[in-house]
């Protein structure tokens, strides 16, 4: 049987050999995953008397709540308590910052399905049935749902913001060629396989112990405390693992934990809420839909002199994380291109849909796809190859200022990646092959694109760039590790454990990874912005380094050797001719009163951002990459297939090339889904009609292109990051943009001239419409 050779995990080239880091260790839970023995919150054995919650929601998308009659809900079998706004002892506020979203609506209705109450019952099924019995009266008003609706109403969740340089109108007037367009970009449902879930158990006094499937246990702690009206110190939040997060369990995990805690507070019983998949779709935020209104001026060679974009972001009903999301869209609106004159404007539009939120890339994709789409248009207009147009506009020494006034220090990595990928993907020859195919194929058309990614690493909210970790060495030499980052499948725990094992020179299995817990490491930042490993790994390295230094000092004294001669490797400690096992040294340290535990703290150096004055250096460094995608479309039906994807992605000196390969490939497929099959549809009443996998289509195995070559670009990070590695969670998501550009290229193959209006996601219908727009 013809089986192609399996993909190989590359070796990380190193100047100095390491023991644990830079190696392809499997995910720490892999052996548990495959046996069904890695417990998620709903798998934990319920304590006696646990109650189960279900949510009742608004039956209109906008208006005022006139009456809420819960008598029938209370009377339903199994119901123990019904909770609404009046039952909240603290503040009815789950918003991260702007106090604009309540846990339970009580007056203004923000979106269809918005929680009005929750039912606690002895069984989940009983709660779900009871929740349907409420009599809800809403004085409904017509909802605003789309970008266009919001532009008409003028409603914003936050003020408009822009930056740029130069006189855009003058530059456009002076440009030899001009193009413009309005580009509709759809949102995206996270579709983490494990839906939102949380449980809460009352402790002594006013304590509340919460298990939450969240990327941000600290924020869950804040919200639970706020809802209950108790100090943060009374709330413990623990997260061992999530069945996927992707940004959807950052702010969006808070409401459910808060409901569980409220119910536990009111009933005195442990309470759990696990959303049904449909409710999860309807009640939790998604990637922002955007409309990028762009104008570009350029010369006959495709060199851009001016780019303007208005990023119209559909933020939904509240601000949530939109301040950061839309700012990041702005930061990445220029991607990797130097724009002599630029205006990057943004509008944070308020609509009556569930509040849009974080999703892998955090606005970056919606900004980046705009300029990549414009690059395709410039290429179409000038007749030059789109890759050549891109190459002509890259940042280069002397043309290295971003529109937000940060200097791009590394102008060499991306051109090297593009050259490497253009060669390895055989881009030029395949361009010719695609052209030849299209010349002889009237019904099916192929398209090709090679697009770059330059993604800034750091939270642009500067204070979030900090992390803590806790490392204990026990007297048998085993090590317990805890830090503020949360594991959602990305391999964070594995990588940080590798760092700690490397510090102590012990095999990886000496390090016991423990659940993220607000009682162990406080005030953590969300595990987001691709930064989890960078900052938590640094904090853990600092903590481990501190303990190791104490142990080394003790060993040096005992052996009468200079400190520099003490070496930790292979589970042993060496000095001169002497050596002992790591466990023996740990035991000796304990007997001699040497502290074996330390808390580590790290803050990212050298970053700043003054938003008001558009000044500073918001990013510690950039991660780069490129993708070459080949697609085919059916011009009769608009159906499409991704035939090939070649990716080269910059991960620095990867901490774990196996995990990084998984991040790059998985992110690409998710990005491909975003621009192809994943379509969110709301009906005129503001009801989400794509609220389950029957109607919302994420990629399946057969969507993974038959030609799929992923390579890691493994040069050390020029910035002094953790073992010179680079963050990898989000940047490769934007390789999906290559698929969109290739689809546009295929549509353009249907006519010799003209610009097609292709919306994203490029569903069969969108592609057929785009073909029609050409003719």
């Amino acid at each position: 049987m013809p089986l192609s050779k399996p993909t190989e995990i590359p070796r990380v080239p190193l100047e100095r050999e390491t023991q644990v880091v830079h190696k392809p260790h499997p995910h720490d839970s892999a052996r548990l995953h495959v046996r069904g023995m890695a417990p998620y919150i709903d798998d934990l054995r319920e304590p006696q008397g646990m109650l189960h919650l279900a949510v009742g929601g608004a039956t209109a998308a906008a208006g005022r709540l006139v009456s809420l009659d819960l008598a029938a809900v209370r009377a339903a079998p199994g119901v123990v308590a019904v909770l609404s706004a009046v039952d909240i002892p603290g503040a009815n506020d789950i918003a991260p910052a702007f106090k604009d979203e309540p846990l339970f609506a009580f007056d203004e209705i923000l979106y269809h399905g918005q929680p009005l109450f929750a039912v606690a019952a002895t069984e989940r099924d009983a709660a779900r049935r009871a929740a349907k019995l409420a009599r809800i009266e809403i004085a409904a008003t017509p909802p605003a749902l789309s970008v266009e609706d919001a532009l008409a109403t003028g409603a914003r969740v936050l003020p408009d913001y822009e930056f740029g340089r130069g006189d855009v109108e003058a530059a456009l007037a002076a440009a030899p060629h001009r193009l413009e367009g309005k580009f509709a970009i759809g949102g995206q449902e996270h579709f983490y396989l494990e839906g939102q879930v949380s449980s809460a158990s009352p402790g002594e006094g006013r304590e509340m112990n919460v298990q939450a499937s969240t990327q941000d246990p600290t924020e869950v702690q804040h919200i639970v405390a706020r809802i209950l009206g108790i100090p943060d110190a009374f709330v413990n939040v623990e997260t061992r693992r999530m069945g996927g997060g992707f940004g959807g369990k950052e702010s969006q995990a808070c409401a459910w934990a808060a409901m569980a805690a409220l119910a536990a507070h009111v009933t005195g019983a442990p309470c759990k809420i696990r959303l049904d998949r449909d409710d999860d779709f309807i009640l939790t935020g998604k990637r922002h839909a955007f409309r990028d209104d762009w104008r570009v001026g350029f010369d006959a060679d495709g060199r851009v002199s001016v780019y303007e974009v208005a990023l119209n972001a559909n933020c939904g009903c509240s601000a949530d994380l939109s301040p950061g999301v839309v700012d990041r869209a702005m930061f990445h609106a220029s991607n990797c291109y130097y724009l002599p004159v630029a205006r990057i404007a943004s509008r944070r539009l308020k609509t009556n849909i569930v509040s849009a939120t974080a999703f892998r890339g955090f606005g970056g994709p919606q900004g980046m796809i705009g300029i990549e789409r414009a690059m395709e248009a410039v290429a179409r207009d000038t007749g030059r190859d789109a890759l050549d147009v891109r190459l002509a506009n890259l940042y280069r020494p002397g043309a290295d200022q971003t529109p937000y006034n940060m200097k791009v220090e590394d102008c060499a990595t991306l051109p090297a990646i593009l050259a490497d990928l253009a060669a390895s993907s055989d881009y030029r020859a395949r361009r010719e092959a695609v052209r030849a195919f299209n010349a002889s194929s009237p019904i099916l058309k192929k398209g090709l694109a090679l697009t770059p990614v330059q993604f800034g690493i750091s939270f642009t909210l500067i204070h979030l760039n900090q992390a803590g970790a806790l490392v204990h060495v026990y007297s048998d030499g085993s090590i317990q590790l805890n830090h503020g980052g949360a594991e959602m499948g990305q391999g964070l725990f594995t990588k940080v454990a590798q760092v700690v094992a490397e510090e102590f020179g012990v095999p990886l299995d000496f390090v016991r990874i423990t659940a993220t817990n607000t009682a162990k490491v406080p005030n953590a930042s969300p595990t987001a912005a691709s930064s989890g490993t960078d900052i938590n790994g640094m904090a853990a390295r600092i903590a481990a380094g501190e303990v190791r230094a104490r142990m080394a000092e003790f060993a040096a004294q005992g052996w009468g050797l200079p400190l520099a001669e003490i070496e930790f490797r292979e589970g042993r400690v060496f000095g001169g001719n002497a050596s002992m096992s790591f466990g023996e040294l740990a035991k000796a340290c304990r007997l001699n009163r040497v502290g074996l535990s330390a808390a580590g703290y790290y803050k990212t150096p050298d970053i700043s951002w003054d938003r008001a004055h558009v000044k500073g250096k918001p990013f510690f460094y950039f991660a780069y990459g490129a993708c070459c995608a080949e697609v085919a479309i059916d011009t009769l039906t608009g159906e499409s297939r991704v035939l090939g994807a070649d990716i080269l992605h910059d991960v620095g000196s990867s901490l774990n090339p196996a995990i990084d390969m998984g991040q790059v490939e998985g992110a690409f497929i998710q990005g491909m889904g975003w621009v192809t099959t994943e379509e969110l549809v709301w009906d005129g009443k503001g009801r989400l009609t794509t609220h389950a996998p029957a109607t919302y289509k994420i990629p399946v195995a057969s969507d993974t292109p038959a030609r799929f070559n992923t390579r890691l670009y493994l040069r050390p990070n020029a910035t002094e990051s953790l073992y010179r590695s680079k963050a990898v969670g989000e940047p490769p998501f934007m390789h999906g943009i290559a698929v969109f550009c290739a689809l546009l290229d295929a549509v353009h193959a249907c006519a010799p001239r003209g610009h097609a209006d292709l919306a994203s996601p490029a569903t069969p219908e969108a592609i057929l419409n785009a073909i029609a727009s050409l003719r």
Partner: protein
């Protein structure tokens, strides 16, 4: 009813033992039983509607001397439906720390990230390992995984892991002790099953005679094929089903017969079992059936259920209406037959009388002078419901069309023939695309489709017409590529 009293408990094998259960609500779902009663929480709930596969378990059934390994979605399978089977879950595969080959391969290939889909993936790959042996290919793995959504990995490592363990015929401990396990399954009690009382029951008649008697006595009962649709009435609409008659234990119902003229499909035949028979009629039916739901849905879902449900977009109906298929209905031992299209009266409404049931479906093969094509158009290639489904059977006299049967799904409240299009096709020349235009234009007279989340009405009308072009282009033998699935990336 047979003379023997009906069994009052379901019987199945679980964790190496015989298990008998009664006293469960008729609409109890297998997944809920596993997680809430059996304490087996390795199997996950991802969607509770049979679309994500996180809850995949394997039902092992004896087929003569052999065992079959069929992946099913436990979230929408009624507990009673595991009667007579061995239930295998993710916890059954490893022996202590010794992982099953598919589990070990998933670890070695870094095939899990968040791990939540993994138990379901493991079980689908376990079934694939037993089902395909050395016939495995990237395509067979993709097909086996079409019903298992993974949001983390992008699938590449999972597919490579699945292929890496294929080395000749399977050799795991399930293969080793298969004879004993088959014997244990054969030893399970059989015969009519009736769990519950006259007001609330889960019943599984063993013969058609028993079915007739039971359905006459309880015309208000729900007839259950595979539960791939009825299951959602429970998990999503929160309906309570008090009386369930499951058809899965009537051997005669599962029978599919092929001969030179056509294929007779038993109403109880799984879609998977029907696949081979339909594929023998035309290769397009293989493609359509392979994209039908997922492997999990096809091994559970039945031909009769798909027809009897009367979905406006059911893929089977339009494909078979174009072939002039007939449906057999039976009530009280008396059968009647009608053209399949006549069975569908309106949205959710079929020509089925009280206590009458769909018994079989007859599908004639196209004759030598007839050309056939069927197309499914959906947002996603695999495991998606069609926006438009179109099927064409053209009678040809040389290069001229002399008669046409054209049927569509997704265009009306029922699967429906395109009468005006059919009429306009008569006389069309395969060599002259200008003669196709009238048939394409006629689509707008035949249909007034709806807009929904799958597609707009305008798109549906356009595509329905364009499928006429595709069919005629292909039938004309024109040397232009028309199938995306046959394209490869440029080398």
């Amino acid at each position: 009813m047979t003379d023997r009293p009906a069994r009052a408990e379901i019987s199945f094998r679980f964790r190496g033992r015989d298990v008998s259960l009664k006293g469960f609500p008729p609409d109890r779902m297998l997944l809920d039983w596993l997680r809430e009663e059996a304490g087996a929480r390795g199997t996950k709930e991802g969607c509770a509607e049979g679309d994500c596969g996180a809850c995949t378990v394997v039902l092992c059934r004896e087929r003569g001397r052999w065992a079959s390994y069929e992946p099913v979605n436990a979230c929408i399978l009624m507990l009673g439906q595991i009667d007579g089977a061995e239930l295998l879950t993710v916890e059954d595969l490893a022996q202590g720390e010794n992982l099953h080959p598919v589990q070990q391969a998933l670890v070695d290939f870094h095939g899990s990230q968040c791990g939540f889909c993994t138990p379901g993936v493991v079980m689908s790959l376990f079934a694939h390992y037993h089902d395909f042996g050395d016939a495995a290919s990237r395509e067979s793995v993709n097909a086996a995984l079409a019903g298992n959504l993974c949001r983390c990995t992008g699938y590449r490592p999972i597919v490579e892991a699945a292929l890496s363990v294929i080395d000749g015929r399977p050799s795991d401990r399930f293969d080793e002790d298969e004879p004993q396990r088959v014997a244990a399954l054969q030893a399970l009690p059989s015969g009519d099953l009736f769990v519950g009382d006259q007001t609330s029951f889960f019943a599984a008649p063993a013969t058609e005679g028993s079915l007739v008697a039971l359905y006459e006595a309880h015309p208000d009962a729900v007839l259950l094929g595979g539960a791939t649709d009825v299951g959602l009435w429970v998990t999503k609409r929160l309906q309570r089903l008090r009386k369930i008659i499951w058809l899965g234990r009537i051997a005669a119902f599962n029978m599919n017969l092929s001969d030179g003229d056509g294929v007779r499909l038993g109403a109880g035949s799984s879609l998977q079992a029907a696949l081979g028979h339909l594929a023998s009629i035309h290769s397009d039916l293989l493609v359509i059936m392979s994209r039908f739901g997922s492997w999990q849905v096809r091994v559970s879902g039945t031909v009769g259920g798909n027809i009897a449900n009367g979905s406006p977009i059911g893929d089977l109906a339009p494909a078979l209406i174009a072939l002039e298929s007939r449906v057999e209905l039976r009530k009280g031992g008396v059968s009647r037959e009608m053209p399949l299209e006549a069975f569908f009266l309106g949205y959710g409404k079929q020509d089925r009388r009280s206590s009458e049931y769909v018994r079989s479906l007859y599908v004639p093969r196209p004759r030598p002078h007839q050309a056939y094509r069927a197309y499914k158009v959906s947002k996603r290639f695999d495991e998606d419901i069609s926006a438009v489904m179109g099927a064409f059977r053209l009678d040809l006299d040389g290069r001229r069309v002399t008669a046409a049967r054209v049927a569509y799904g997704g265009m009306a409240a029922t699967p429906k023939r395109a009468a005006a299009c059919e009429a306009a096709l008569i006389g069309a020349s395969l060599d002259d695309p200008a003669t196709w235009e009238a048939a394409k234009a006629a689509i707008a007279a035949d249909f007034t489709p709806l807009s929904d989340m799958r597609a707009s009405a305008a798109y549906r009308l356009t595509v329905a017409a364009q499928l006429v072009t595709r069919a005629l282009t292909e039938i004309s033998g024109a040397a232009v590529p028309t199938r995306l699935g046959e394209l490869r990336a440029a080398e």
